[in-house]
């Protein structure tokens, strides 16, 4: 069943067409890799899907619902999660707080919060803390749960971002170059973690990644972009043999 459907998505910046009429489908529990050279339009496509950029044309549907006009936070509440190429963590907060915020934001009403806070009832519930700790346990962060993320290394922060993105059980996870800045061992561990979370939570994953070993380890299917267009699509090995992909990565002979 198609979970996320993108049709004819186009985004330009001035005269530069970053994404040109892209179609993309993601099924429940499926993992799709989005690869391509720098400047191919992958992150712009992510930004459009997640509501951080407004596309010039095209539609985006989540579970059959048109989400094209919704803001980022509404898309997150509808079941989308995201990690970022450049870390977007909250430096003053602990690892546990990151997950608590994500969990609270997924279900709390606007007005109730102020009164609850003023009455001293703004602390996370026992159930919320149990959920958070179970995710921290699963991703191996329980030992640093109370540490401010400013004190953690890049690799750990990437896992914090991932845990924060999945704690509210999103149906779609957009992972933007999660291995950026990580060494080979950390990348392999992250790939394993992503795959296990995907299987356990049956979520669809859209993975933008330059590390092809990681792509191969995580995804079921690969979509290749170049100059804003989809140039190939299929299994990892099929796609890597496609002439269009070789041209995109290696240039024309």
């Amino acid at each position: 069943m198609t979970l996320l459907q993108v049709r004819g998505l186009t985004k330009s910046f001035g005269g530069t067409v970053a994404v040109a009429g892209v179609d993309l489908d993601l099924s429940t529990g499926e993992s799709v890799g989005l690869v391509g050279p720098n400047g191919a339009g992958k992150t712009t496509l992510f930004d459009c899907i997640f509501g951080q950029l407004r596309p010039d044309a095209g539609t985006i549907e989540l579970d059959g619902r048109d989400i094209g006009g919704l803001s980022t936070w509404r898309r997150a509440r509808l079941g989308m999660g995201r990690t970022y190429q450049r870390l977007e963590v909250f430096p003053d907060l602990s690892v546990r707080d990151h997950l608590v915020i994500a969990l609270e934001a997924s279900h709390t009403a606007r007005w109730g919060r102020l009164w609850k806070d003023l009455l001293g009832l703004g602390v996370p519930s026992r159930e919320e803390l149990a959920t958070v700790d179970s995710v921290l346990e699963a991703v191996g962060l329980i030992d640093v749960a109370d540490t401010p993320v400013a004190a953690l290394g890049l690799g750990t922060c990437r896992i914090v971002e991932l845990a924060r993105a999945v704690v509210a059980r999103p149906r779609v996870l957009l992972a933007d170059e999660p291995s950026s800045g990580l060494d080979e061992r950390e990348t392999a561990e992250l790939a394993h973690l992503l795959r296990s979370l995907q299987v356990e939570r049956a979520m669809g994953i859209l993975l933008v990644e330059h590390d092809l070993a990681m792509v191969e380890a995580v995804v079921d299917r690969v979509v290749v972009m170049d100059l804003g267009r989809v140039v190939a699509s299929g299994s990892f090995h099929e796609v890597m043999r496609a002439p269009a992909v070789q041209r995109a990565y290696l240039g024309s002979p």
């Binding site: 907060l93 994500a102 609270e104 102020l114 806070d117 703004g122 401010p148 509210a168």
Partner: protein, 655 residues
């Protein structure tokens, strides 16, 4: 046509003044990446020194010009660069704004301390004689030396600066350094030298602008330069802080249109008294709302900004359990001693001072909540305090409402205005938001607060004793202390509860990363509006408390300059904690009271002290008081850990 020219020509010096300042602001922004709030203070410093040398020490005009402009201008620019802005990480836009504000507040307060108050009247013109009419436009529109100086220097400066930036290699390097000085260094360019040159040129321009403008006013006053700079910001904003010719054009237009409209509008009309003085600020609001380039103003563009080191952790985290217990015990003991002292032996003069400190503390809590917790910078907190005070006063006058009930309604009114301001600024971030709040503060200063219906005129109005129960207005007794103490306690408790609750976590997340917070489902727009509304309520309560303490509500008590000073003061003590707000409130009034005993020229020293403190914001965003608390806590922790450690075995030699 003659009439139109007659009204428009007197607007030229003002327009040129806006243009020169606007070009200077754009130049600094384009070449250093810093929107320099201190630019007006730089210009004022040169004008002050120029007038001081000529009037008080009878220096020749040319020698004073060389000293005040050619030397002092670039030197100030170089000092700003070397000591302040170079040390601020490129991504830390809040630190750049706070540093600029500190200079804007600190320099005008420092100059009289250093040079004395001086006789700064009738400053001479550098080139043309201001009183001489050189020719006529049309039949009878005289063009005097002031107009000629303004036009000549504006055109000359614009041409020189545009040529420097667009036609020279140094200009290219300056523009590159503003984008990323680290990338420029990777190209083999001495980026610090390039940036220093840009600051020196910018300082020279500020100096020229300052000295040129001095003869257009009767006396050299800092307030004129600051107000003029804010009007110039409108012109610079219309050019999206990019094009100097466009900024200059809008500067001239603002000046000429203002004076032309002044000529045509009836002096008794609302348009003349309220809208016209606010015209530059209305233009600024319009530019901020409709010029797309300003929405992300002041945000880092440096691709290497991620290599900046993280900010230091808050001071309270250094506290172990034992120290924490000692600090808490000490706090309650101190609080008990304070209350007992205020109710028993405290001399009335000091009780008044400390009461005022508590009122300020409530206002400062609004800065703590908005900036420290939510990461939003407002330069209109004194205005919000004033809105509440005037609302309560007018409700008492017209409806006979008890002033305390009016204070609650006043706080609601301040919340409403703060909320509307937040809604209007939803697309703005960082510097754009700061400018929007500053424009709002100025609009209220010139168009709302002085209105007869609001304040009864610039002198304001006195509170009447029957408006308040329990003898709150009486100097005898402790009723006011009890009220202020209770309000402060409730506000502190409320802020702490919200900080520790869901909203506090959401706001802290938003402060850390807006993208990250929105990405997990936090509604940023709602959180920002809520932060402004709560902050407005706090400022409003503080404003009414201050009005009761001072027994008078006057526009001068709530002007934009105080809003700027409030941010600087709270940042100095610690914007991240409620203790910081209380220390700022009490510290300000105690320092001002102590300075009453010092010579007259030192009266402004309190603002200098706080401005110096705020200059350390980039290095110590937790505030210097918080920093010292952390250092002392760490020392105490070390002493305690040594005491608790088991005696080491005897050491017989080094291994």
């Amino acid at each position: 046509m003659e009439q139109l020219l007659g009204f428009a020509v007197p607007g030229i010096p003002y327009g040129c003044a806006y243009a020169v300042f606007a070009v200077g602001l754009v130049l600094t922004y384009q070449t250093t990446g810093v929107f320099n709030f201190g630019y007006g203070a730089q210009a004022y410093a040169s004008a002050f020194v120029f007038a001081w040398l000529v009037d008080d020490h009878a220096w020749p005009t040319w020698a004073a010009f060389v000293c005040a402009v050619a030397i002092l201008g670039p030197v100030l620019g170089l000092l700003f660069d070397r000591l302040l802005f170079r040390r601020i990480p490129s991504a830390n836009s809040t630190a750049k704004i706070v540093t600029g504000l500190s200079l804007l507040v600190g320099i005008p307060a420092l100059l009289p301390v250093v040079f004395g108050n001086g006789n700064l009247v009738g400053v001479p013109s550098v080139v043309f004689n201001p009183g001489t009419v050189y020719f006529h436009l049309g039949a009878d529109v005289p063009v005097n030396g002031t107009y000629l100086s303004a036009v000549l220097f504006t055109v000359a400066m614009l041409v020189v600066v545009v040529l420097l930036l667009r036609a020279t290699h140094l200009g290219l390097e300056m523009r590159a350094a503003a984008e990323s000085s680290r990338l420029l260094e990777l190209e083999g360019v001495d980026a610090p030298r390039v940036t220093a040159t840009a600051w020196a040129v910018s300082g020279l321009m500020a100096g020229i602008a300052g000295v040129l403008l001095a003869p257009t006013e009767v006396t050299v006053q800092a307030q004129d330069y600051v107000t003029l700079m804010v009007a110039a910001i409108a012109a610079a904003a219309c050019a999206a802080l990019r094009s100097m010719p466009v900024a200059a054009l809008f500067g001239v237009l603002i000046g000429v249109v203002s004076l032309t409209a002044q000529g045509y509008l009836p002096t008794s009309s609302f348009w003349y008294s309220a809208v016209l003085p606010a015209f530059p600020f209305i233009v600024l609001v319009g530019a901020l709302l409709f010029v797309p380039g300003l929405r992300r103003l002041g945000q880092a563009t440096d691709p290497l900004s991620s290599v900046d080191p993280p900010l230091p952790p808050p001071a309270a985290r250094a506290r172990g359990r034992e120290i924490d217990r000692i600090v808490r015990t000490g706090f309650w003991a101190l609080l008990f001693a304070f209350v007992v002292s205020m109710l028993t032996w405290m001399p009335p003069a000091w009780e008044t001072v400390l009461n005022q400190g508590m009122a300020y503390s409530v206002i400062f809590l609004s800065v703590t909540f908005l900036t420290g917790t939510a990461g939003q910078l407002s330069l209109a907190q004194a205005t919000l305090a004033g809105i509440a005070a005037f609302t309560a006063g007018q409700l008492a006058i017209h409806l006979g409402l008890d002033f305390l009930a009016g204070a609650v309604l006043g706080a609601l009114a301040a919340s409403l205005v703060a909320g509307l301001l937040a809604v209007a600024s939803l697309r703005l971030r960082g510097l754009g938001l700061a400018l929007m709040t500053l424009a709002a503060a100025l609009l209220f200063d010139v168009a709302v607060f002085p209105a007869q219906a609001v304040s009864g005129g610039t002198g304001g109005f006195a509170l009447e004793s029957h408006w308040l129960p329990l003898g709150l207005l009486s100097a005898n007794g402790h009723a006011y202390f009890v009220l202020a103490f209770l309000v402060l306690a409730v506000c502190v408790g409320g802020v702490r509860l919200v900080q520790r609750g869901t909203i506090g976590r959401f706001l802290t997340a938003m402060r850390g990363s807006e993208l990250g917070a929105a990405g997990v489902g936090v509604d940023l727009a709602w959180q920002r509006v809520l932060a402004f509304v709560l902050s407005g309520a706090l400022a409003g309560l503080g404003g009414t408390l201050l009005a009761i303490q001072q027994t008078v509500i006057a526009p001068g008590e709530f002007n934009y300059q105080l809003s700027l000073a409030f941010v600087v003061i709270v940042v100095t003590t610690g914007v991240g904690t409620v203790e910081g707000a209380i220390q700022a409130g009490i510290g300000l009034v105690v320092l001002e009271q102590l300075l009453q005993y010092a010579p007259g020229r030192l009266q402004g020293l309190a603002f200098v002290v706080f401005a110096l403190g705020a200059l350390t914001y980039a290095a110590h965003p937790e505030g210097i008081v918080e920093l010292e608390k952390r250092r002392w806590t760490e020392r105490a922790e070390r002493v305690l850990s040594r005491r608790h450690r088991a005696p080491a075995p005897a050491v017989t030699g080094r291994s």
